[in-house]
Amino acid sequence: MTPTTDKPRLSRAHSLELLKQMIRIRRFEDKCAELYTQEKIRGFLHLYDGEEAVAVGVIPVLEPRDRIVATYREHGHALVRGVPMTTALAEMYGKQEGCSRGRGGSMHLFDRSTNFYGGNAIVGGGLPLSVGLALADRMRGEDTVTACFFGEGAVAEGEFHESLNLAALWGLPVLFVCENNLYAMGTALAISESETDIQRKAACYRIASEAVDGMDVVAVEAAARRAVHAVRESGKPYFLECRTYRLRPHSMFDAQLYRDKAEVDAWRHKEPIVRFKGWLEANHMIHPDDLARMEAEVDAEVAEAVAFAERGTWEPVEQLTRFTYSDQAA
């Protein structure tokens, strides 16, 4: 990679890939919602509908050696990072073929081979972890970047303050990606934060920061290139706030009493897939055939994932306590 790569390369092929990744997440999660109503998927299910441009804009900018720490709303991050859709869905079914052997579920997708350090269901809990991953890299002199995704709700946690301070104080290569979707479950940003301009908080820790329209995949990617480049070159943290919106309920149990339907509808007009597709059409960068082919490929991938998860097997109950400790332990 050369420094010039912090400019987005909006070739037709690259643009179509960005669009396809967003459609992949959307269609996968539409299927997840359907499977949830069929009780194939249980527990909590948090969908990323409306926020796809963030994961799709940021994650492909990272190198394979880089590390990712995500939240409980992490299906999109896992898919874009390269966790197979098959094992991700099998995990949500609770099957032992799942990417976490069925021990984690929707909120805890892990994948060592892609340095995917998991969905974390403690809000803010991934922040100190990312500091430690980056500390290890720094102590070994490696130029690895750790990208830590979290919502604006995590900003209210003490660990947000502790982690930003530690990362800046010790000069650690963490890319903090705040996915600001305006609601911590049902609590609006304005009634949980005294300063609602989240990216300004980074300045208190002397961390370079930027806020970007998180519904615009091209803008997110451009910002991510600047951010990853800055972290890799300086070895210091960077704070990227992506302003986005969750179009679906917080989880499948959410009656959405806390926001107006009109507000959701207004955001729906800005949603990243329709918007980017429209832009590509206006600029003659996509043919209807492209879209049809893309959707067919995604639908086939989703169908294969469902078949894989359905075929999956239940871990024998005799193995229940396995992996509480290392097998080499007594």
């Binding site: 590390r67 799942g98 990417c99 976490s100 052997r101 069925g102 021990r103 984690g104 805890h108 892990f110 994948d111 060592r112 350090y117 998991g118 974390n120 403690i122 809990g125 922040l127 100190p128 972890l129 990312s130 500091v131 430690g132 991953l133 980056a134 500390l135 290890a136 890299d137 102590m139 070994r140 003490g158 660990e159 303050h161 502790e162 982690s163 301070n165 530690l166 104080l169 306590t321 396995r322 992996f323 509480t324 400790y325 290392s326 097998d327 080499q328 332990a329 007594a330």
Partner: protein
């Protein structure tokens, strides 16, 4: 005749320091991190002098961010380092409990064995220094409740010197509880003392009349009680648990099968405690061996008070241990 092995006179604090120094020399992925471990030399002076030897990268002073730096230790361990995180006292560890329980203890299982957090977390525990109700509790029994971590309580110089290296080699997170009243304890230790096992209880005194089961700071009080009991023709066996999770049931049951009587001495509170767990296991596994109800000497159920006489009355003391042992033998 072979010459007796060379011994050195040192304190429990010195033994802990030697253990850290040894680990740092043997493995450059090991580093120590915590509040005041560097320039100050450690709240209890355990790490005094180590900054000069290893530098600020590996003897890392942290801000007062227990959750942040404990979580950072967990992350560094997940990325291949071997951190030793020092939490100043067990009471402060509660600020890091989320990271210890929700990440360190869960990540191996929750990730289907893909990730683990092989770090060591050390902290001071226990009462006796008039530090009152926010610095003096014994919460190691709480931690022993948690699957996914191991919990150690070195009560001797050998264990203070030897447990850390074994804990650092362990593929899972290990918590080490150092009773504050032991730091100044001095004695002789083999100059070449090294790693010890971390999963077996030890019989510190052989006896046939009653099993006194204890660990950490209460070990020496219990041994003193056993000496006093011997003067009254009561031959007490003293078991030092050493590891609170996992518990070495075999050693406990072997002892109880021999003496047929057991008293548990634990500086933790009685209700819902480690002593309750041990008592239950004895009843589950050795009920028919028992000649008397299992006795317990625990802390009184109060926040540890400041005033010296009240603090001393709140935690297990030799006379209460003697009385409980006699009660188990039906001797008033």
């Amino acid at each position: 005749m072979t010459a007796p092995s060379k011994t050195v006179e040192l304190s429990y604090r010195d033994a802990m320091r030697e253990a850290i120094r040894d680990a740092m020399r043997r493995d450059n992925t090991v580093f120590l991190m915590g509040e005041d471990v560097g320039r100050y030399g450690g709240c209890y002076a355990v790490s005094k002098g180590l900054l000069a030897e290893f530098g600020p990268e590996r003897i890392r002073d942290t801000p007062l961010s227990e959750s942040g730096f404990t979580g950072a230790g967990i992350g560094a361990a997940m990325a291949g380092m071997r951190p030793i995180v020092e939490l100043m006292t067990v009471n402060f560890s509660l600020l890091a409990l989320d990271q210890i329980l929700n990440t360190a203890a869960t990540v191996r299982h929750m990730s289907g064995n893909q990730f683990s957090a092989p770090l060591v977390i050390r902290m001071a525990t226990g009462a006796g220094r008039q530090l009152a109700a926010q610095h003096s509790h014994s919460l190691e029994g709480w931690y022993a409740h948690i699957p996914g971590i191991k919990v150690l309580a070195p009560g001797t110089l050998e264990d203070a010197r030897g447990m850390l290296w074994t804990a650092l080699q362990d593929p899972d997170p290990v918590l080490i509880f150092e009773n504050v009243m032991l730091y100044n304890m001095t004695g002789k230790l083999a100059a070449d003392a090294g790693a010890v096992d971390i999963d077996k209880a030890a019989v510190r005194r052989d006896g046939r009349d009653v099993s006194l089961i204890t660990y950490g700071g209460s070990l020496w009080k219990t041994l003193e009680a056993a000496t006093a009991l011997a003067a009254e023709n009561i031959d007490a066996e003293v078991i030092d648990l050493r590891s609170l999770r996992p518990l070495d049931d075999a050693t406990i049951m072997r002892s109880v099968a021999k003496t047929r009587r057991a008293v548990i001495i634990d500086e933790g509170w009685r209700s819902g405690s480690l002593s309750a767990e041990i008592c239950t296991r004895i009843i589950e596994q050795a009920f028919w061996e028992l000649d008397a109800p299992v006795g317990r000497v625990c802390s009184e159920e109060v926040p540890i008070p400041y005033s010296r006489h009240l603090e001393m009355a709140a935690i297990p003391q030799v006379p209460r241990i003697i009385a409980a042992a006699k009660a188990a033998l039906g001797r008033a």
